[in-house]
Amino acid sequence: MTPEQIALVQSSFERLGPLRPVMAARFYEELFSRHPDLRALFTTDMAEQEVKFAEKLALIVGAIPRLAELLSHTQSLGARHVGYGVRAADYRSVGDALLAALAAVIGDSFDAATREAWTVAYNLVAETMLDGAAMARPTGS
């Protein structure tokens, strides 16, 4: 990522402020409307899930400038998601839903540069989560 992209991701997320829960709810709406099959992966209360999602996202966005700290969040998160039954292909669906939710909630100021910055940031997060997932997946027969 470029420093400008990091700044854009952080500032656009910062400006969500009290709208973060709305964005989280919108994210799951977008995800399930695209992939109703993924609904089955969520066994807990969705309201609770939305809060967890928003909190984790805030941690990750905050850690982007410091790679070691970012990895400490994403790799363990990726490892846990293996246990939830998440497949590698689902990461793309999640990325699309996240961008759609951000675009919907941020509105006009979600311009091309901000979208690009979030795309690169999500890719970085997804790749490192997949790294964590690969480390966690047992290789024994």
Binding site: E4, S11, E14, G17, P18, P21, V120, N123, G140
Partner: protein, 846 residues
Amino acid sequence: MIHGRAGVGKTRLADECAAQAAASGYPTERVVGSRTTALMPLGAVVGLLVDGLGQPDAHGHVHTALLFEQTRRALIQRHEGRRLVTVADDVSLLDDVSLALLGYLAAQKTIFLIATVRTGEPVPDLVTDMWRNGSLDRVDLHDLSRTNLDTLLHLALEGPIEAGAGMRLWEVTQGNPLYVRELILGAVESGALIERSGVWHLDDGLPPTSRLQDLVEQRISGLPEQAHAVVELLALCQPLEIGYLETVAEPDVLEQLERAGLVTIAVPDGHVRLAHPLHARVVRDSMPRLRVRGILLAQAQRLEAMHSPLGPAALRMAVWQLDAGERPDPAVLIRGAHLARDTHDFRVVRRLLEAVPGDQLGALGSLLLGEALYELGMFEAAELVLARGQELPASEHVALRLAVTRVKNVHWGLCQPEAALAINIAARVVVISDALAEELAADEAAVRMFSGHPDRALAVLEQIKGSDLRTRVVKAIVGAPALAAVGRTAEAVRVAEAGYADHVALGDELAIAHPATHVINQVFALTEAGRLAEAEQLARAGGEIVASQRVPIAQIWFAANLGRVATLQGRLATARRYYAEAAGLAQANHFAGPRRLALSGLALACAMLGDLDAAAHAIDERAALPAFGFLGPEHQLADAWTAVAAQQPADAAELFQAAATRAAATMHLTTESWLLHDLMRTTGQDTSPRLAELAATGDSPLVAARARHARAAQAGDPAELAAAVDGFEALGALLLAAEAAASAADAYNQTGDQRDATAMRRRASALAACCEGAVTPRLAQAESAVPLSDREREIAMLAASGLASKDIAERLYLSVRTVNNHLQHVYTKLGVTSRAELTRALGGAS
């Protein structure tokens, strides 16, 4: 089967699969096709033939069917029935018998086959058959997308990379993972890729490594002679017209090269290029000098025969002749340098002109060379060339441009504004016609402005009529920031806009700043006017454009201005990043003055974030740089805020005051307002009378908002303070709004208006939450959390979810009256008057 282009990672993926299989307890084997083993039956699969090659019969024949079956049994026995995971790398290069054996063993499930096939190579029939009957899965690997390359770079370098460097790596590698790997390793080792202030920058060209050379040579070396010659020709002289290439090679040669993915043919103009930018470099580097020379000279002669030597072909002709070690005609070199200058390719300008003998360079050649050296950060050399150029006979036009370029180099490059001024004044002897003399005067104004004297700059500009378009452009470059600095911000914005329009009409001329300068000025003027959102948007758009065009000085200014805007918005972590970016770019491009300004901003942002070490570090780094007058008093914000962060308010007050005095003396009035307002914010000192004067002198709403805030704070007037909050928030200055809100809350407390006090306190913490971790004395004083009792919170949450008091009462086994009592307390504590406001206050969204 893993299919993909060379270097995309096929072998790596296959080996990774084998390693996983081995980790799971499977036996593994590796079979590698190569041009040598392809000639020898079963040469590649010796490792599988555990039972030997079999005995020939009486007639000397080996029965393959028998051999295959014996091999199968031997493998089963050796591996105790477990399937042997076999990687067959580059199956296209395996001989037919080896392929047949692999096919047989795979069909019998004795082995699990992982085959790689390179794009452009024939896929063996056997593999195609297996794929068709469904016993083989095909995986197509592609080069990395731009996004994936960015991610890979981020992970490999363990940090962010400057936009221009990322773009360059993308252009050169086109996402080919092998090339990326080799280039990055080489560039880090050679120091071309270097980390500064946490961001990676690319300083020099990308040096190809010897391994990269081997890789490309491997790809090219198998080509037939004619195809090889075409590749070499393109590597040196691309792009070439397809019509011409068809005269030097058989028609099917080009077709073959295109099919192999080695060349691309552009449809609209029929220009042929090597498909991969790296191939050109590597082929060029590995060719013998004599051969290079022969090809280049022949091509230069071809161009010479076809075109006028001083026409648009001059640049290619001159470069080829130079590359061939010839001494081209100086007229062709100078013409070529002009053409290179048109595309801002200053390296080529320098190369061509340094080949011209000194006595033939002339005044115009000296101007071009001097400017190129300045742009390349070689200020001492530029000074020599330009000073010598001024002694040569020249037209008045060239004399003027030599003078202003030398002034710019001495001012911005060597950081000697006094010497720059002396050069400007000396030039008046030779530059005498009206329009040109005016431009020279505008240049004097530039030195005065950018050495820290907007007042004197404006005085000079007033004498300039500006009837000539070029003079108007130069006048605008100085006028816009000078007007903004003295607080005439609306006029400054207009001048910058008009200057840009005039500059576009004028075209990109010699010895004048880049047209983006006007956009930078407009950003600065908008910022001083407090139109922060507009300034930010414009700076981001401008920054992207100049990053793609690689204009480092403009990139530095856009980044530094984005840092300024973010500081005023109170987005301090963002400010810190932009300033660090600007400082890194300025260092990479040898601009000491802008670097000084960026380091000051960096220290300021760090200090306001409470990161005292980082602030002190930036100030130390700044101390090694020469003095630089532009926005001089503003640099002192860094020192004063560092003292604030170090809990030394007396020192801070002194620093703010001294800087404000200097700002007043040089008419940096918007800066003076910033300094005096910060003095009030951090120490409580009353600066309201002077702030009011400053507000009355200029038209900046930001300066006016500061004055209003100071007056209200001094009077302890809660309603006025609340109005100041609105004022700052409307401008997007959220940190100032947060502090004013905290003061308003205290003032309401004093007047006993509890509900308003609570509302303001809540507003202060909401605003402060947008400030990315700002730590200022005023914020530290303010209480942040609103204390609700558990019961109050429970009832408030239920009310916010839309339940009526009656329903809440039923649910909690309370009386309606008790519920209403609790709600009343909640409303007062949170400073709200309706359920809708309550919902918002509790962080709800509706």
